[in-house]
């Protein structure tokens, strides 16, 4: 009985991602340092910051494609390792060539079994899992459409299904909202939020504009000028906290609808609209 309790306690305390004094960079060049953050199960986190601030670098470290320069990083209870099946990844795109006449179902199934060698035709079970994944992103009607014929928003849903098909615990989405119009951006965000809540998966989403994300987020991570601020949006995105972090006057403006704009750290983040 006591043992059982301990297991439960350790589960609730366990963090999916834990970084201590983490420094990111390529070789000699440091992109950011002193990253201290942790994310638990089922959290929806937005990562914002100027271009080249090191947002994608964080993803590459989580995926085990790049090593930390210093500090420690633990992902899903261990060091990051390449090919971790518990991570679903949607890279920054890269559009699919319009002549690619391969049906969407095929790509989603490859998300499940693309690593397996051999000419084994896809099993009925794999097909069902792929259809379930498509269903969960409201893209079941796209199953037999060719990849090359999809719009940007449709393609993002297919990529999301491809990432979800293996039932990951952690979802890394690199700028899924770029190239989407306002309506499709809102639709996709609702979809990601649904996935996070229903599947209890932790999602890290890199975005350019924080505002459409604010209603859904649990936490926000702001990366700029080699430093990282992490926490609840209301705590991180204030003039005081960002000014203290960056040692320069940073202004966080809010409009009556709750939209924010960050001014003072290179380019501003968040369009008021």
């Amino acid at each position: 009985m006591e043992k059982l309790n301990r297991v439960v306690v350790s589960r609730t305390n366990s963090q999916l991602i834990e970084a201590r004094n983490l420094t990111a960079g390529y070789g000699e060049k440091v992109v950011w340092r002193d990253g201290n953050f942790s994310f638990g199960p089922g959290e929806f986190v937005a990562i914002i910051g100027p271009n080249g601030a090191g947002k994608t670098t964080l993803f590459r470290m989580l995926l085990g494609l790049q090593h930390p320069v210093a500090g420690s990083l633990s992902v899903l209870g261990g060091p990051p390792k390449r090919g971790n099946p518990r991570i679903g990844y949607v890279p920054q795109r890269h559009l699919i060539d319009s002549e690619t006449n391969v049906e969407c179902l095929e790509l989603v199934r490859l998300g499940l079994s693309g690593k397996r060698w051999g000419f084994n035709p896809f099993s009925a079970g794999e097909r069902d899992s792929a259809l379930v994944a498509l269903e969960s992103v409201s893209a079941i009607e796209l199953a037999h459409r060719p990849l090359g014929a999809l719009s940007g928003g449709e393609l993002q849903r297919i990529f999301l299904a491809e990432a979800l098909v293996s039932n990951p615990d952690l979802l890394l989405l690199d700028e899924p909202l770029s190239n989407l119009d306002l309506k499709r951006e809102t639709d996709l965000l609702h979809l990601v939020n649904d996935v996070v809540r229903k599947r209890h998966v932790t999602a890290l989403l890199i975005a350019h504009n924080i505002n459409p994300l604010l209603p859904h987020l649990d936490k926000v991570m702001y990366i700029a000028n080699g430093k990282i601020a992490t926490g609840k949006p209301g705590e991180v995105l204030t003039s005081e906290s960002l000014t203290a972090l960056y040692d320069v006057q940073v202004e966080v403006l809010r409009d009556p609808h709750g939209n924010v704009a960050i001014i003072g750290v290179e380019e501003h983040h968040g369009d008021m609209r």
């Binding site: 995926l63 494609l65 390792k81 390449r82 090919g83 971790n84 099946p85 991570i87 990844y89 949607v90 890279p91 890269h94 699919i96 060539d97 002549e99 690619t100 006449n101 391969v102 049906e103 095929e106 790509l107 490859l110 998300g111 079994s113 693309g114 690593k115 397996r116 060698w117 051999g118 000419f119 084994n120 035709p121 037999h144 060719p146 990849l147 491809e162 990432a163 119009d181």
Partner: protein
């Protein structure tokens, strides 16, 4: 062994085919052509999917330099062809897929290889024109039984290799970044595929020659892409089209005495045009007709 009667073309296609098959050189040609069409049809799908057609063409030109060099040294041209294209394949694979898609650099290497081949051919004094012609435009009619056996061995190796690579290669071709993040050995996959392409090109050169390599490596696969959205079916159709073009090409060439390579190229091209036309007619959204207003964009 009976002596084959030389008969003109008759309306009876079956007896025509029997008559053609009676000749040993035609048997060899059919065997080598069939094997080549199968491997070119399979490999061609991935060449088209990965947009590596130009690279595949470059292999054949590098192979030309190798083959011409082999002729000078008195070795079998096929050996030089294999050595040249495999060397090119490994080099391009190591440089990476992003490099292999750079038309300019590939084109520069291609032009130099062709020039090098010309020099080698010039150094070779005996049968200057014949050697050049057969490497550039194919010599399927002159294939020996030894070459047929070698083609069979290579064909089996390629079919097995493609069977093993199939799913990871499909994944890596459609979604390189995710495949890499999932821990796929990208360099290995790229190199293995380039080797397969290099070997396929070398054997396809026997049939179509260096300059007409696209007719078996690219055209059937490109045409079949329009006929299915499932990769395994596209590959099957691609093989079927390559086989048809080769068989009909051999048959027509036998009775008209015009070059086999021309007919293979022509039938492959005809099939491609036909497929595009049918696809265009059957496709629901034609660019000419205005789409119904569904979305504001």
């Amino acid at each position: 062994m009976s002596i084959c009667p030389i008969q003109p073309f008759s309306p009876n296609i079956i007896s025509d085919v029997q008559n053609m098959g009676c000749f040993e050189f035609m048997q060899h040609a059919i065997e080598a052509g069939t094997l080549t069409a199968i491997i070119a049809g399979i490999t061609g799908y991935f060449v088209v999917l990965r947009r590596s057609a130009f690279t595949a063409h470059a292999f054949s030109e590098i192979g030309f330099a190798g083959a011409a060099g082999a002729v000078v040294l008195g070795i079998a041209p096929l050996a030089g062809l294999l050595a040249g294209s495999i060397l090119g394949g490994v080099a391009i694979a190591i440089l990476g897929r992003r490099v292999s898609n750079r038309d300019t650099q590939v084109g520069i290497v291609l032009a130099f290889s062709l020039g090098l081949g010309l020099l080698f051919i010039n150094l070779y004094r005996g049968g200057y024109a014949t050697a050049t012609y057969s490497i550039l435009f194919g010599e399927i009619i002159g294939v020996s039984s030894w070459e047929v056996n070698l083609t069979a061995v290579a064909g089996v190796c390629i079919v097995v290799a493609m069977g093993v690579l199939y799913r990871p290669l499909l994944f890596a071709s459609l979604d390189e970044d995710v495949a890499e993040a999932k821990g796929m050995p990208m360099l290995f996959l790229g190199t293995a595929f380039m080797l397969v392409v290099a070997v396929t090109v070398s054997f396809a050169v026997q049939v179509t020659g260096v300059l007409l390599i696209f007719s078996l490596m690219v055209t059937p696969a490109a045409a079949s892409q329009y006929l299915s959205k499932r990769p395994n079916r596209v590959i099957a159709i691609s093989v079927a089209l390559a086989l048809l073009a080769t068989w009909i090409g051999l048959f027509v060439s036998f009775y008209t005495n015009y070059p086999v390579s021309f007919f293979i190229t022509a039938f492959a091209f005809g099939a491609y045009l036909l497929v595009r036309l049918v696809h265009w007619v059957a496709s629901p959204q034609k660019p000419a007709t205005p789409a119904p207003a569904t979305s504001p964009r």
